[in-house]
């Protein structure tokens, strides 16, 4: 496709007026007394607007924000993931890799037949789409608040099961981040889905 470029006027080609325009925006913000909304509750003490001291200070992410995917534990601090590999299957950039346990795997809670021997997410590949969270039948993986994932090597950014579980923490955190229903005992995805389905007109 050929892009048609607009011909610049003599005034625009002069360059300086555009530069001055840009500075005008900067100066308007510099002398502004109004705080921007993105700072949330973090900077209540400042009346004047200042630069946020990132990364020591971070802005509040909105509810339902899709940050890095972590594994969460249940209320008894036990692994929820049962190694069904649906997230691995659905993951568009193939960032998730699960090593299934085989017949002799160990489980740390009742009611689960298997748990992943290893669960790796390559944070460099992850595109934060949230498909893994949506597909998980056990509500074991959630996209939480973290958005600035960094490391010095590529290997460091492949998070393993232990790291993902530690970062995900107990179910409550995921619940607080994704306020989906009014119950107080963590997220109950199927309840929510059933309720939503019931509210929809029946289809056949």
């Amino acid at each position: 496709m050929k892009v048609k470029r607009t011909e610049l006027t003599w005034w625009e080609r002069l360059y300086l007026p555009t530069l001055i325009n840009g500075f005008k925006v900067t100066l308007r913000h510099f002398f502004s007394w109004k705080r921007s909304e993105v700072y949330g509750d973090k900077q209540k003490e400042f009346t004047a607007k200042t630069t946020m001291q990132y990364p020591e200070e971070k802005w509040d992410v909105p509810t339902g924000y899709r940050g890095a995917p972590y594994l969460v534990k249940d209320v008894d601090e036990k692994t929820k993931c049962v190694s069904c590999q649906l997230c691995e299957f659905i993951c568009p950039p193939k960032a998730i890799r699960i090593t299934p346990p085989g017949d002799s795997g160990v489980v740390d809670r009742e009611g689960a037949e298997k748990m992943p021997e290893e669960f790796e997410i390559n944070m460099l590949r992850c595109i934060y789409c949230g498909f893994c969270q949506e597909v998980c039948p056990e509500e074991a993986i959630f996209l939480l608040e973290d958005y600035a994932i960094n490391g010095e090597t590529r290997e460091e950014l492949i998070y393993n099961k232990g790291k993902l579980l530690a970062l995900g923490g107990a179910d409550k955190r995921a619940y607080n981040h994704h306020v989906q229903c009014d119950v107080d005992e963590g997220i109950k995805k199927w309840e929510t889905k059933t309720r939503e389905a019931g509210e929809q007109p029946a289809f056949h």
Partner: protein, 566 residues
């Protein structure tokens, strides 16, 4: 196909399936091959319509207990007192849709798997009545079935899942508590049963009782508590138990070997052969990312029907072993294929007639043996292979445990008595006449040519895939490929030539043996004229007498192989 057309015409019956008249044979072979009246299910299959079924299996006796194949049919009327069948007003024969005797007007279904067809019958394979019946049957089957498909190992190849999507209803009306049955029951050394997931189709019971002849399984308890069980105190451990895992339509029977190893939708399926014995059961290799996870039998009625033995099925671990040979070794350490082939060809070019001996393996493909035989003919070399014998059984296992002994015999690498010329090779080495020994895929130190004798040789060229005493003595060690990593053909004990295809990439320097041999043979004898396995096979089929008589070509082998006269 041409041969089939000349057969005497079979007696046929015309029935209507979904309004279309189809002509089907009056009888069809049952699971034992004996003619039996064609069933509604078979007639529909011939008409191209699949009737959903669980307990019915074409290679097992019909039980008719799952009710999934219920279809609504209409029967032609019986002749009245005047001897004439009732007709419609327009003179066409009248049919009577089946209905409940005590509730006229309510359609009554018949089970397709066990109802024979009659002339003039009308089968409503996709009518609203039939669909309603299927829906009801599925609802009944799902009453006590745990609905945890995402964590069930069968998911992805589960008939209950598939039919629920195709014929079931979207939501469950069952509000009561499900019956809980034992989970992870150790049924035998290789099988785990999840009684909760079982839908009691009894396929496994019928398979082991009728096909294997080991009446080991049965149903215990009553009503909702029905469960599959082995005979008390006796494990389910015959050599064919894992076939029950294949035929189990749900996730009740799982193989200990494959359980929780990999979800089935990740597996790439490649048509292959079992190399455990001379039967050559047709298989499918399930692999992911260059790792093999399982064998499954592939239907071939001329060889293995739908089955394979447990020993053969579990005989794949060596393919992915850590100590697989992956480095090409020459006398001066690691080398590359071009220089190794050049050096070996140079050495062989100088070798005199009679100074070379070849020990081939009956685990090699026809093509490789053909090329080795070319080499042997050039040097009038002694060639032989190594016998491997075991006990045959009544079903599939052959006494000959080499997958390609017949091929080696037909091509002429070995005689009827496999291994009979090994002593002559030993003598030749002792006398110093044989100075070059080429060993393919066998550890000759186990068969009379010990390490000391190997030391007497001027040149020992060994190709193998796993390390052994012979490979350690080799001057040139050529890493080879397992059957899963290359293409080729085997000839089974009954003379059926079958091909297998490549599922995995070979590791390291390993190269398919036929490619290496092709180059060697070309350098030494000048044989050429093909650059693919297909071309090699066709050339071999043209030169080997038995293959030529059968008119084999690579393409004509198809998926199920072709017979040659022994």
């Amino acid at each position: 196909m041409a041969a089939k057309r000349t057969e005497p015409a079979v007696e046929t019956v015309t029935v209507k399936v979904d309004g279309c008249a189809v002509e089907v044979p009056r009888t069809m072979p049952n699971w034992q091959g004996k003619p039996e009246p064609t069933t509604v299910l078979q007639a529909c299959k011939q008409a191209g319509i699949e009737i959903p079924h669980y307990c019915y299996h074409p290679k097992m006796p019909v039980a008719g207990n799952c009710r999934m194949c219920l279809v609504h049919v209409a029967m032609p009327g019986r002749p009245g007192p005047d001897g004439k069948a009732p007709t419609n007003e327009d003179g066409s024969p009248k049919v009577f849709p089946m209905q409940l005797p005590y509730e006229p007007g309510t359609p009554r279904g018949v089970i397709g798997c066990a109802t024979g067809i009659v002339p003039g019958m009308e089968i409503y394979a996709s009518s609203p009545e039939t669909k309603e019946m299927r829906k009801a049957v599925l609802e009944s089957l799902l009453i006590n079935h745990p609905l945890d498909c995402p964590i069930c190992d069968q998911a992805g190849e589960c008939k209950l899942q598939e039919y629920s999507v195709d014929h079931g209803q979207p939501e469950s009306r069952f509000a009561e508590v499900k019956v809980h049955k034992p989970k992870a029951v150790d049924l035998g050394p290789r099988i785990t049963l999840d009684a909760e997931r079982c839908m009691l189709c009894t396929r496994c019971i019928r398979f082991t009782a009728s096909v294997v002849g080991d009446d080991a399984l049965g149903i215990v308890n009553r009503g909702s508590y029905n469960a599959i069980s082995s005979y008390p105190g006796q494990p389910f451990d015959n050599n064919y138990t894992l076939n029950t895992v294949d035929i189990c339509p749900v996730g009740a029977l799982t193989s200990d070997d494959f359980r929780f190893q990999m979800r089935v939708w990740f597996l790439k399926e490649t048509k292959s052969l079992c190399t455990g014995c001379g039967t050559g059961c047709n298989t499918v290799i399930g692999s992911r990312e260059n790792r093999m996870y399982r064998y499954e039998p592939r239907q071939n009625d001329a060889v293995n029907s739908c089955w394979m033995c447990d020993a053969g099925r579990l005989d794949y671990k060596w393919i992915g072993r850590d100590d697989r040979l992956g480095k090409l070794h020459g006398p001066r350490g690691n080398t590359t294929w071009p220089s190794a082939l050049r050096e070996i060809s140079g050495h062989l070019a100088k070798a005199a007639e009679g100074s070379v001996a070849i020990v081939a393996s009956a685990r090699q493909t026809n093509e490789e043996l053909f090329l080795l035989n070319k080499l042997a003919k050039r040097y009038k070399a002694l060639t032989d292979s190594v016998p491997r014998n075991g006990e045959a059984d009544h079903l599939l296992v052959a006494g000959d445990r080499n997958p390609n002994t017949t091929g080696a015999q037909l091509i002429g690498v070995t005689t009827q008595r496999v291994g009979s010329k090994l002593s002559a090779i030993v003598k030749g080495i002792v006398s110093g006449k044989i100075m070059t020994l080429i060993v393919y895929g066998e550890d000759v130190t186990q068969h009379g040519i010990d390490a000391k004798l190997l030391g007497k040789l001027k040149m020992l060229i060994v190709s193998d895939i796993l390390p052994n005493a012979t490979t350690r003595k080799a001057d040139y060690l050529l890493p080879g490929c397992s059957h899963a990593e290359k293409r080729g053909t085997f000839t089974n004990v009954k003379g059926r030539v079958q091909k297998f295809t490549k599922a995995l990439e070979p590791s390291g320097d390993a190269m398919p043996e036929w490619e290496v041999l092709h180059e060697l043979v070309h350098n030494v004898t000048g044989l050429d004229g093909f650059n693919s396995i297909e071309g090699l096979f066709n050339q071999m089929a043209d030169e080997v007498k038995a293959f030529k008589a059968a008119g084999l070509t690579w393409a004509s082998l198809g998926d199920n192989g072709a017979d040659v006269k022994l």
